[in-house]
């Protein structure tokens, strides 16, 4: 078996830890793989649920991505484990988008329940929390109404911080198409939110 630590020199302790876990998983240690699942399941779900505006479908996509990662452990060629998992998740999310063409009438119907997680922080002012909740609700509704391709490009660029070239490679389209999707998506969001822009200007 290829020793990933010997082929990939990394000073980053997080990356080194991930590589050790991957190497153990490749040699059949399921617990090591599940340690990776525990480490990354929140961030990967956050990525996918922004791309797939349905909580259950997003969860299924993430589960499928972890299955795929485990099945293809041998194809990992070093580098960042997080980036590798991100790419697998983006592919799984796009597969889900293709499979479920129907768009939910109301995205995230559980918006009002406790499954929504406000980010932890010092912001405990009820009024600010209410505004933040209202913004989140408006954004989620608008994001669900732009196209899957536009939403994917916007999430990868504006939230995940990938550049145009990386998104083009991940989504299998040209650089120009990525730019066009981002720009059209942004303008569509602004049109969809035009009546509620005061909510975001404060």
């Amino acid at each position: 078996m290829e020793d990933l630590r010997s082929t990939t020199v990394s000073d980053d302790p997080v990356q080194r830890r991930d590589l050790i876990l991957i190497e153990r998983a490749r040699s059949g240690d399921l617990d090591a793989f599940n340690d990776l699942v525990i480490l990354y399941q929140d961030s990967l779900f956050a990525l996918v649920v922004r791309m797939v505006p349905d909580r259950d479908q997003a969860a299924d996509a993430v589960q499928e991505a972890f299955f795929s990662a485990y099945r293809n452990l041998a194809s990992f060629r070093g580098g960042s484990v997080k980036s590798w998992l991100n790419r697998i998740c983006v592919n799984a999310a796009m597969d889900t988008q293709r499979a479920k063409k129907r768009r939910p009438v109301q995205p995230y119907p559980e918006l009002e329940d406790e499954s929504w997680q406000p980010k932890a922080g010092p912001d405990v002012d009820p009024e600010r929390i209410a505004v933040h909740a209202e913004r989140s609700r408006a954004i989620a509704a608008a994001m669900a109404h732009i196209t899957d391709d536009q939403r994917t490009a916007i999430v990868l660029y504006d939230v995940e911080g990938y550049d145009y070239g990386e998104i083009a490679e991940m989504t299998g389209v040209s650089l120009g198409t990525v730019k066009s999707r981002i720009h059209r998506g942004r303008l569509s969001l602004r049109d969809l939110l035009s009546d509620r822009m005061e909510l975001f200007r404060g």
Binding site: Q117, R135, I139, D158, R190
Partner: protein
Amino acid sequence: MGNRGSHARHDRFAIADAVGLGMIPTTIASCPSCGALHADLLAIRAAIRQAWIPGRPRDFLLSLDDAVRLRPPGWRRFLDAIGTSRDAVTRPLALSLTGLGLSGLLLTAIPAGSFGSAAGGQAAPVTPEVDVAGGPVSTMAAEERLVSPTDDDPLAGLSAALLAAGGAMFLLRRVAPRVGGVR
């Protein structure tokens, strides 16, 4: 200074492109509508980043059953791969083996002299042979020996083996998906 009339001609894409980048189109500074659009796009981008998302509904840990299903033991993995889109080996291999086997059998079935007669028009004379006892062997028997491959012809044996291997490979491709179980 821009006005509502000229704003219609301004490039909205360029403004959308400028969001988050250092370069800012001049229209953003000169046209109030373009400036407002730019500010709105920046606000929306910030809101997307900060928006709450639904919580993860469950853990995605793999069970032992999942692990066995996804990474089966060696022979099962081999069997599972045969006949799928991942399998780029068995079909060309089966075709090659079958092709080689058939060609070999064809070659052994053609009399050695027939190549010469076709090419030069001079057929190799089939002369009656003399057996160990000294008696003449009939011409027909000699011809028969040339036409049908004998058991000790190594090329014929090899060709038959290749043909059988190719056939077995095709059969395996048919059977493996049913035996392999979950893909």
